[in-house]
């Protein structure tokens, strides 16, 4: 039997499957799919693999969890709560933690995986944003991503509430506060959600259905769509040698990328298991059972809800009273405005950018963040806005840990939530331009060789050498940010004649102005000035130091 002959059991099975599913053709087409290589392209996989861990550990937890708010005395093995009246949900969570073999590990892994799920989504979204990977043709996949992130927040909120401990009750109370503050429909929605007066007896079982069935189902469907679209549209790649808008340079799915992805799944699983085993998370037995009368100092939501907590803490106590109706702005604004700004901003950004730049072409080469300075600055301003709110969500812990006045943190936060993004915008913009200049210097002057040379006239110069070809190709991947046709002239569209119809009127003129600011080449790579004496090159076989 020669080595090239396929053993009969394998050949038989595979032809059986191939004849019925056409799997051979499918695999032939897809196994050699090329995936570009960059560490930041793996960040989304953190969320994907955490989701798998969430499904597995979550299934384990449902075997023992009882989603009921019926009151029972605690009979389990945790001594300091013996005989205390509590909901069945809380009692069964304690049962999982102390009396189910491996239950605490599963609970902790589930919770850590949830944090990494949302965290992974965030860093992935930031990578996509800052490299402009959301541009045509990937806008729809970007929208799916924004939807996934929003759903993940609700998935987290419902899961956080299920154990019915004192801390989760605090989150539930805020949820109720937000729902009831909605104008006109608030009371209806609240009574509908809680099945009557807060806290009622229904909310845990309702959140349970949402948490284990509806939202994960939608998440799973959207993640699948996200993956299929990515597969069909191919992954973007970083600019570099031999990489164009028409090709993909990287490793084939089988075997190289599959091994990398498999290894990364193991890493993700390993980190979650490590955290679950060695770092305690959500110690519900310390919080105690939920009663609406009790609240603990330092009650915080999980990190992904921290920005909402922060905006609530920053808000001054504004209230509007009209004809006997109260409009609690102090709850409505912090609950809806930051979430609206961030999620709507994320969803609309690709389309706003298209409107401003007039760019309708496809992009498969990622931008380096510095090469689109306004986009990067807008992103950093948003990160700062989010970050200030997030930080202030923990202002009581900050005050008590760093021994500063709680009031001072609130006052500083109220200013920084507006000032911070502006500073971040300016600083980022200058940093981007500085980095572009440094790129131009590398292309125009070469890199410092560390060799000092003495000229015949006694002058000392440092010899510069041309950059490594890979680096040069990476840097030369820069393209000017697109601009509306007609916006690039000094006087805008008007100078070359009558501006197109959509650029007339106040909105059109604003669009031209924005396009001119946003687009174009701020720092050209080859700025045209000649090589001076100090730009001597060695190593390229040509000593140009004396030719100028």
């Amino acid at each position: 039997m020669s080595i090239t002959t396929v053993p009969k059991p394998i050949a038989g099975t595979s032809s059986f499957l191939d004849d019925r599913l056409g799997a051979g053709n499918f695999l032939k087409r897809n196994l050699r799919k090329i995936f570009p290589d960059h560490w930041s392209f793996l960040l989304g996989e953190i969320a994907l693999y955490s989701f798998i861990v969430l499904l597995l550990t979550g299934t384990f937890l449902t075997f023992f969890f009882k989603p009921s708010m019926g009151e029972v005395p605690y009979e389990g093995s945790y001594e300091p709560l013996k005989g205390i009246m509590m909901s069945e949900a809380y009692a069964s969570s304690l049962h999982i933690s102390f009396d189910v073999r491996g239950g605490l590990l599963m609970r902790q892994m589930h919770h850590w995986a949830a944090l990494l799920f949302v965290g992974g989504m965030m860093v992935h979204a930031l990578r996509v944003f800052f490299t402009g990977a959301y541009r045509k043709p990937r806008e729809l996949n970007w929208l799916i991503g924004v939807l996934l992130l929003t759903l993940a927040l609700f998935e987290g909120l419902t899961g956080y509430s299920l154990p019915d401990d004192l801390l989760s009750g605090a989150g539930l109370r805020i949820t109720e506060g937000v729902a009831i503050s909605l104008p006109l429909v608030g009371t209806w929605i609240t009574f509908f959600l809680f099945g009557g007066e807060y806290p009622g007896e229904d909310v845990i079982s309702r959140f349970y259905s949402l948490h284990i069935l509806l939202i994960p189902g939608i998440l799973l469907a959207l993640i699948t769509a996200h993956m299929i679209l990515m597969w069909v549209q191919k992954h973007t790649q970083m600019p570099g040698k031999g990489r164009t808008n028409e090709n993909v340079v990287g490793a084939p799915f089988y075997p190289a990328f599959m091994v990398k992805a498999g290894a990364y799944f193991m890493f993700t699983f390993g980190v979650i298991a490590l955290l679950g085993a060695f770092a305690q998370i959500n110690p519900i037995w310390l919080f105690g059972p939920y009663t609406p009368a009790d609240i603990s100092a330092g009650s915080q939501p999980d990190f992904y809800m921290g920005f909402l907590e922060g905006s609530l803490r920053l808000m001054p106590p504004w209230e509007i009273n009209i004809a006997g109706f109260t409009l609690p702005m102090s709850v409505l604004i912090p609950a809806l405005v930051p979430m609206g700004i961030i999620m709507t901003g994320l969803a609309l950004y690709p389309f706003i950018e298209q409107w401003v730049t007039g760019d309708r072409s496809e992009h498969h080469i990622a931008d380096r963040p510095r090469n689109n300075p306004h986009r990067t600055s807008i992103g950093m301003a948003a990160v700062t806005f989010y970050g200030v709110l997030w930080l202030l969500g923990a202002n009581d812990e900050l005050a008590s840990f760093f021994h500063i006045s709680l009031n001072a943190t609130t006052y500083v936060g109220r200013v920084m939530v507006f000032l911070g993004p502006a500073i971040a915008y300016y600083v980022t913009y200058r940093v981007c331009l500085g980095l572009q200049r440094s790129d131009a210097a590398v292309i125009g002057h070469g890199v410092e060789s560390g060799v000092i040379k003495r000229l015949p006239n006694g002058e000392y110069i440092e010899v510069h050498v041309p950059p490594n070809p890979a680096i040069e190709a990476h840097v030369r991947g820069k393209a000017p940010v697109p601009m509306l046709p007609g916006a690039d002239g000094d006087g805008g569209g008007e100078r070359d004649g009558v501006p197109p119809k959509q650029l007339r009127g106040p909105l059109g003129r604003l669009r031209v102005k924005m396009s001119r600011a946003y687009g174009g080449e701020k720092i050209p790579l080859d700025d045209g000035h000649g090589h001076g004496e100090e730009h001597a090159a060695i190593g390229s076989g040509e000593d140009r130091s004396l030719t100028h």
Binding site: L81, G242, L275, F278, G298, G306, N395
Partner: protein, 269 residues
Amino acid sequence: MTRITAGRRHPLARYAVLLLALGLLGGIYTFVASTTGRADASIAAGRADDVAEGKKLFQQSCASCHGFNAEGSNVAPSLVGVGAAAVDFQVSSGRMPLARPEAQAPRKPPPPWVNETTIRQLSAYVESLGGGPTVPAAEQVDPAKGDPAKGGELFRANCIQCHNFVGAGGALTRGKYAPNLTESTPTQIYEAMITGPQAMPVFNDSIITPEQKRDMIAYITGVRSQVDPGGAGLGRIGPVTEGLTAWIVGLSLLVLAAIWITAKKRQAK
């Protein structure tokens, strides 16, 4: 004389000298120690002496803020009627005497002159000014005699809104804070409840009975000595440190792993 001179070189002589010296030292020590002991005992015998000594201590270390007769001033409250429990709580935890005026007196190591005797004398003096809550007896604060489950319910209903769910402490307004309860002795916890130091309200015996206070002490001391079953406790302050760990440990490790996995790149030919 010659016998002694001759005996000096005897092999056992050095042991004899050593024994003699040790005996002498021990004898002198016993004599000195017993006299000081008798002196202390004579002071302790009379309450009046305690009050007089306490007044002396008060005038040395406390009067500059609380006034020469503990009548209070614009920077410190009057101590008439605060009771022995307040003195014991403040002085034994090092909060008083204050090092400098600030939002709140922090717990710190007490100055060297503070010991059981001086605290008793100071307490006696302050009590002599107008009564007040007294220091609880040892069995009143014995955690072993309390019911931690009942105490936990009371603790959650009355304490955690400032002190956090395990007594890790928390921030209050304008630099004030609820301190953590990790170092507080059972007696100090009891005294804090009956005297309401600084920003803390008073939980007198009609609100929380002495037995309930003992239950709470049993819960507080039990929970704080509990080994965290889930691994590192992360400061036991809830989701803030958990989020920090998720980002700084979890995501950082995964980013490093991603960089490692993709370190070797394919180059286009």
